[in-house]
């Protein structure tokens, strides 16, 4: 590892993300953000003079492979902290590993609600959950988009189902009628049938939980079919790639995201600049997630003044990190709160922030 810190023994941080397979796209974005954070830290002289060494492993979002990677990072590389592992299923599989070795585990992505409910002291989620996002935006959406009825569709995995469940519950509580709920498989290419049904149900709005590839195809086809309803949802839609892929069909849609490159504020401006310099593109939600997770971990180690797991764990619990998208703190259960999520509308191929709301994890 390069960096000003020179000869001092590096502090090792393990990062497990899906680098191959169908979620590699998102996994690699997390790695980009994480590497940028590590580089910045080392450029600043590391942590107490020791460089941060990021060791990245491919977990393929498969529980077994992720456990392999975790065991390897812990045993062979002797990392002090683990970050990962994107898919909630993979994260759930390494949580007992972290617990067993008493090693802190930070995820910047996995959103499955009950991960923080398992009483695992070493687990921290530096990310929103669908419930938190829904709570933050359901009201704004219902009010600003003037929705009376909504059709909900989502990718058929834990994240998509979570998004649909939380938003439909909160919106229904606000008196918005639900006209249709259905799911599609990741990698689907043809949404005409689904869209035909939505068109027939005539909702005011369509809630979509989809990632870049599925989402862009879906939106294009929605436009082809002449679907009039307002489209909003969750997913990494506030990214350049997404807008480029979707083309004009992206115009006017809304997305509730924990991060968009157009979030105002100095911290974010600097982050976007250095990200653009490193990768020649704007960061998206996963890039930011990787960036934040590494910084949170680094600051905790710095505060702990030690690479002892227990010390880091305690420091993590006291996190107070100024991120591009607000302030991160952890609840006693390890759920982050205090940072902001934004509602963006894509206008003229730019994500324009229309509302900002802090993510609160009350109880």
């Amino acid at each position: 590892m390069a960096g000003a810190a020179g000869a001092a023994e590096p502090i090792k941080v393990g990062l497990i993300e899906p680098l191959s397979g169908s979620v590699a796209y998102n996994g690699q974005s997390v790695v980009e953000g994480a590497k940028l954070a590590a580089k910045e830290i080392n450029d600043r002289g590391g942590i107490d003079g020791r460089p941060l060494e990021l060791i990245v492993e491919d977990g393929q979002c498969a529980p077994a492979n992720t456990v392999n990677a975790a065991e390897k990072l812990i045993q062979n590389d002797r990392v002090s902290v683990l970050i990962g592992a994107f898919c909630s299923s993979a994260t759930a599989a390494i949580m007992p590993v972290a617990d067993k070795y008493k090693l802190p585990l930070v995820t910047g992505v996995s959103s499955k609600a009950d991960l923080t409910e398992q009483g695992n002291r070493y687990f921290f989620r530096a990310a929103e959950t669908d419930a938190l996002l829904a709570r933050a935006f359901a009201k704004i959406m219902a009010r600003d988009l003037k929705l009376k009825s909504v059709a909900y569709i989502g990718v058929n995995d834990d994240w998509g189902r979570g998004g649909v469940a939380e938003f439909s519950r909160d919106l229904t509580e606000l008196g918005v009628k639900s006209t249709l709920v259905d799911y599609f498989d990741h990698g689907s290419t043809d949404f005409y049938t689904l869209l035909t049904r939505i068109r027939a149900a005539e909702p005011d709005g369509v809630f979509v939980a989809a990632e870049t590839q599925d989402g862009s195809i879906l939106l294009k086809q929605a436009k082809e079919m002449g679907l009039e309803a307002k489209i909003f949802g969750v997913g990494s839609w506030a990214t350049e790639d997404f807008i480029k892929l979707t083309g004009e069909a992206a115009e006017g849609i809304y997305a509730a995201v924990p991060y968009a490159s157009t979030i105002p504020g100095d911290t974010n401006r600097k982050f976007v600049e250095s990200y653009a310099k490193a990768y020649r593109k704007q960061p998206g939600k996963y890039g930011a997630a990787g960036y934040n997770a590494v910084n949170i971990v680094a600051q905790a180690i710095d505060r702990a003044d030690s690479t002892k797991a227990e010390a880091i764990r305690e420091a993590l619990a006291k996190t107070d990190y100024e991120a591009p998208n607000g302030h991160y703190r952890f609840t006693p259960k390890g759920q982050a709160y205090g940072f902001s999520a934004v509602l963006v509308q894509l206008q003229g191929a730019k994500p324009v922030v229309v509302a900002t709301s802090p993510v609160e994890a009350g109880q």
Partner: protein, 290 residues
């Protein structure tokens, strides 16, 4: 009623695309009996190379298409001559393992070189959607359906009506007898594999202009293509069309009237049911006797 019409149209279009995606496999698996797990990756490469040629190098769609298909033909030829040829006659397991290795290699090498992001091939045809009564279609979809029909028909004619087609079938049924009739079987094997690769790649590029290309799509494409080939009956072109349409239509109606979350199940249940009653698919010959 209007709904049903739109579902029908959707089903026919996706069915045609399924048939198109499976065409290369009909040749390589159905006729040549090489269980080609790399089919999806050939399809994917068609899309990714199409993106390189159009979006990166700036060629127009037609030129790019010809180039990509030709390049993939060369790849197919090389794969057969230098790899599959070496294990021909060692039983199908060798080629299974070989093509699994090939598919892992191609998918991950592409991921490494082209990155994981979805890639869009600019569509050759654009414009407003067409409304035929209550049914919505787009020009590019119709064009792709037309191309599918042409390719399927073309492949059928080549295999069943030409000298080279007959030589192909002879080679796959009994290569020794084919050699003894003067057929250069190594060339036939390689040519068929190349042709199958080209068909897979052309499907990949065409559909990438409608959907998008991504290094990781191969597995899913292979899966559906195998289903289509088997539904129709090994090596039968009418069968591939029928298989594709059955799959497309049943998915459209199931997705339309039941749920889209479970559409994939219909294809597989269909496979199980059809094979239960017709153990060799819908259209295939049985010349086996005791």
């Amino acid at each position: 009623m209007n709904l049903a019409l739109q579902f029908l149209a959707n089903g026919l279009v996706t069915g045609a695309f399924y048939a198109l995606s499976a065409l290369g496999l009909t040749l390589i698996f159905g006729l040549m009996r090489v269980v080609n797990f790399a089919h999806g990756e050939f399809f994917m490469l068609g899309g990714v190379l199409g993106w390189v040629a159009t979006a990166v190098l700036g060629l127009d769609f037609a030129t790019a298409f010809v180039l990509v298909v030709a390049a993939m033909g060369v790849l197919g030829w090389l794969v057969d001559r230098f790899m599959i040829e070496r294990v021909r006659g060692h039983g199908e397991e060798s080629t299974i393992l070989l093509t699994i290795g090939l598919s892992i290699f191609l998918a991950n090498a592409t991921l490494y070189l082209a990155g994981p992001a979805p890639m869009k091939v600019p569509a050759p045809l654009t414009g407003k959607p067409l409304f035929l009564g209550p049914v919505v279609l787009t020009k590019s979809r119709l064009a792709a359906v037309a191309v599918s029909v042409v390719l399927v028909l073309g492949a059928y004619l080549v295999i069943h009506r030409t000298r080279i087609g007959r030589a192909m079938r002879a080679t796959f049924q009994d290569a020794m007898a084919a050699k003894l009739s003067g057929i250069r079987t190594e060339r036939i094997f390689a040519a068929t594999f190349a042709l199958g690769t080209m068909l897979a790649a052309s499907a990949g590029m065409l559909l990438a202009s409608i959907y998008s290309a991504q290094a990781s799509v191969g597995g899913l494409v292979s899966l559906k293509a195998f289903v289509v080939v088997i539904l129709g009956g090994m090596g039968s072109f009418p069968g591939a069309i029928a298989g594709g349409l059955i799959l497309g239509l049943s998915e459209a109606f199931w997705g339309g009237y039941v749920s889209t979350g479970t559409v994939d199940i219909v294809g597989f249940v269909m496979v199980i049911l059809i094979l239960l009653f017709r153990p060799r698919g819908l259209f295939s010959l049985n010349a086996q006797r005791a």
